[in-house]
Amino acid sequence: MPPSSVPDLSSVARLVQAYSAYSLNGFVPEVILVGGFLIAILLDVFTRRAKSKSISIYFAIVVLAMAGIASAFQWQPFVAGQPWKPGHLIFPYSQTLFIPMVHESVLERGYAMAVVDNFSVFFKLLISVAGIFMLLMSLASQELRERSRRLGEYSSLIIGMCVGLYLMPASLDLTMMYISLELVSIAGYILAGFSRDTEHGAEAALKYIMFGALSSGLMIYGFSLFYGLTGTTNIIAIREVLALNPATHTGANFYILWIATILALVGMGYKISAVPFHFWTPDVYEGAPTPVTAFLSVASKAAGFGLLIRFLIFVFPEGTKTAAPVLDWQTALAIGSIVTMTFGNLAALLQTNVRRILAYSSIAHAGYMMAALVVGKADGTVAIMIYLATYLFMQIGVFYAVMLIANKIGSEEIDDYRGLMTRTPLVSSAMVIFLLSLTGIPLTAGFIGKFYLLAAVLTPDAATHSLPWLWLAVGVIVNSVISLYYYLRVAAAMFLKRPLRDMALERAGQTAPPLPAIQFGVPVSALLLALIVPILVLGVYFQPLVDFASGVVRFFNFDNIRY
């Protein structure tokens, strides 16, 4: 690839320098979060003696809302026919070793740490909404109330975690990816062990750290191999080097590239809890405070998928078996997807603790989304984004219902759920709606998520008019049917079964007085409704969500990615 003309590097460097300061404009949401994080710590110091400790949570809600609004302003209208252009680069740089600077200026090519584009805006909004729901949930949490002295620490950590979550899907550089992922992980370790005085809490934190440390070590090793192969850490530059220089992916280097990719996927697989990097999931989900569990299972997973999409699609954009110039990551991912969803579902069948059931089911959901990731390109990406948006409501909703019940009956065992229908019809019915949505029954948002996911997986190959991933789609639907069984076990316990106490009393020949009804306040019911309404509305009218997600992906203009 002979350079046609050598650009004036010093002028590029000047431009980049000037842009670096300007680039902070695109960093407003993150700056709000960082500022909020610092203020939250101070606030904690000054309100040590205050009676109500919830003030820090309210503060965190405000910070997340502001950051979310600031991200919404970063939305860029889609211009027809334009190829993907990094909208607003953050911390651009010009140091790449092997790329001859021939085409355009460095700014147009996306050599930067992170980027503000509609894709990252979508994830920022998703994370903000999840965070706000999670904080509202925290207000009602018994576990947190018992440790209310440390609520300031709690809310500041969540704000800090959000900085990492915001940056994960926006990263364009391996180092940025690693830093943001670690930021999320470290905040996550502390949050998972928030109730460290309990046995489960301590176990959760320890497992999370052990597996986190291992997988991030493997990932950074993979990243270093990428750097060794291509001489750059920017994922766009990596793609260009791979395309321009066949030596980077032929011969022995081919295997090194495979190893590098798989190692990089380990770290991301850990975040989305894909098999076999899922071992932490059940224990952390069981031991962490319920709002944290909900947040980890939604926001952390969403950001993980954002990162994964960005990484795979930017580094290996072709996305079809025939055209893949470098390596066939799709088949590998498809196998991973099937294994993940099948393992998650089969393991969930064996659980007796509702939270553990949900932990394994969240592994299965990661498997479903990976199936769409296999397809890649526009269809798969849209499907994952729709799925994540619907998953947000149902997953947070189901954990909220679990938490409310645990607050009152002090248990998450499925046998203790018996007869809840008569005691708290509202929460029981809400739980059923969330569970059905997780199964993907029509008229719930979960169906729309699954519908688009299947449509993506079943997209016919344009060239051969065959369905390359039919087996994957069959895997998804068979797994959905399996998942119905354990979701319905929870519903059946609440609706169909009689409490064990009543049955025991009856055997002893006594009449059982009905168990006391469980009452909830208005705010609790309002939050439940706020989670149910989107599920039901999206189940019937999903046009806005799909339009939104398509708008994001149009922006990539997959058909037109340049070299």
Binding site: F447, P460, I477, Y485, A492, D547
Partner: protein
Amino acid sequence: MISELPLLTFITFLPVVGIVLTAVVAKDRIPIIRGITLGITLLQLVIAVLIFLNYNGSLAGVNDARSFQFVERLPWIRLSGLGIFGNLAIDYFMGLDGLSVAMVLLSAIIMVVGAVASFSIHRHIKGYFIMYLLLDIGVMGTFCALDFFLFYIFWELMLLPMYFLIGIWGGPRREYAAIKFFLYTLLGSVAMLLVMIGLYFSNQVLLFDGAHHLIMSPLTHKPEVYHTFSMLRMMDPSAMVPGSILSGLGTTWRYIAFFALFFAFAVKIPMVPFHTWLPDAHVEAPTAISVVLAGVLLKMGGYGILRLSLGIFPEIALSLSWYMAMFGFINIVYGALCAMAQSDFKRLIAYSSVSHMGFVLLGIAALNSQGMVGAIMQMFNHGTITAMLFLIVGVLYDRTQTRGVLEFGGLANQMPKYFAITVIAFFAALGLPAMSLFISEALVFIGSFQTWQTWTIVSTLGIILTAAYFLWTLQRMFFGATPEKWNNLPDINGRELASLIPLAVIVFALGIYPAPVIDLLTSSVNALVSIVHAHGPLEHAAAALVR
């Protein structure tokens, strides 16, 4: 004028009103709660009768949008596309033709009967009737929907209420029966979902906006090509995208899609060997739900085969009709043999449903007008008769809390009125002339004999077996000595008779003069037959298979 009203929306969504009313009524106002559901279902029946009176039997429908009646079509979701997804169009598209009008009428009748039978429910009454009305929406919507997406949503809408209706208000093994029903049907319907997505990708259409202009793409300024879920577009081979996955005729992909779609309906019918959920569901379900399940829900399988399997994949239905007839035969004889072996009265009736639904399969497999008219008539008649049978089981069970056939004897003296109505129902069910089932079974045999002689001849064995087990049951339960403990059984009461007698009237009326129902069906069935046979002479396909 009446036909211009959105009658199908009314009939489908009236239960929503009922659900809202039931939800606001206090828990202990039991008569009001019951009254709401009964009132709603009666209103639906009135609308169904209006539809019946205003239905023009000479219009065919099937794959021709203009000759559907009571059509309502509104754009529901329009997504401008990207990638290969393309532009997506989902319509709120309801309409009736000869394939569905009889089913809507049947559903309206059965839902009223079920509502009356539901009066014997005493636990969690409010929840029960809300679930019942939810089921009602699903039932009506499935028969009226002409958009596959809409059809699918209604189809799945029935699963949840059925699960709870069996699971909460059912018998001792209700949890097992409920989950089995749910899992089986869901497995069928997710297979249908895959086919639906495949068909979506394979058809294309240009759409018009409100001002009758073609919808243009803002990017290319060419007309936007949409993929739709309209069943009618899916039936039209020329609407298929050339080279798409389900285009062409008789391709492997179309065979695969046909099998997946047929599986969904075969579970519902239920076709042996996918029938095992049915006896469990029936035995555990409360009487009213058994009535609805056998009376209406099974018909959705037959209806789906006619509307979708035959309508969309006619050439494959044609080439596989030999097997369909074989499965019809197996259903008829295997169901009858199983029924004969039962000592549980309700399980016996459940297996008789399997046997009777076999005639539907056999009639459809005949692929001629007589056979298919017979199949639809069979669905209608089986709906009314099996409802009677389950009510009869319920009457006895309410009094004795047992269903063992062998535990009874001499009930004819004990409960003479009950005996009389049972005799009517039993004789109707074994196909006695002058009763409705005779007509439909005769039509099925006439039709299928022209096409599949062997299967028809062996299937007549089923008639004998059916007569055998019904008469044997009659003998075991109603004649002989009465066991001591049943000496004071009260006879059937007015409420129970009120739901049985109208059904008996229908059975006799259609047995003597079936023309009103047949007239509804004929032109649509003829259209469907010609669609199927447009893809090659049957003899040719049959001969190829026999070789």
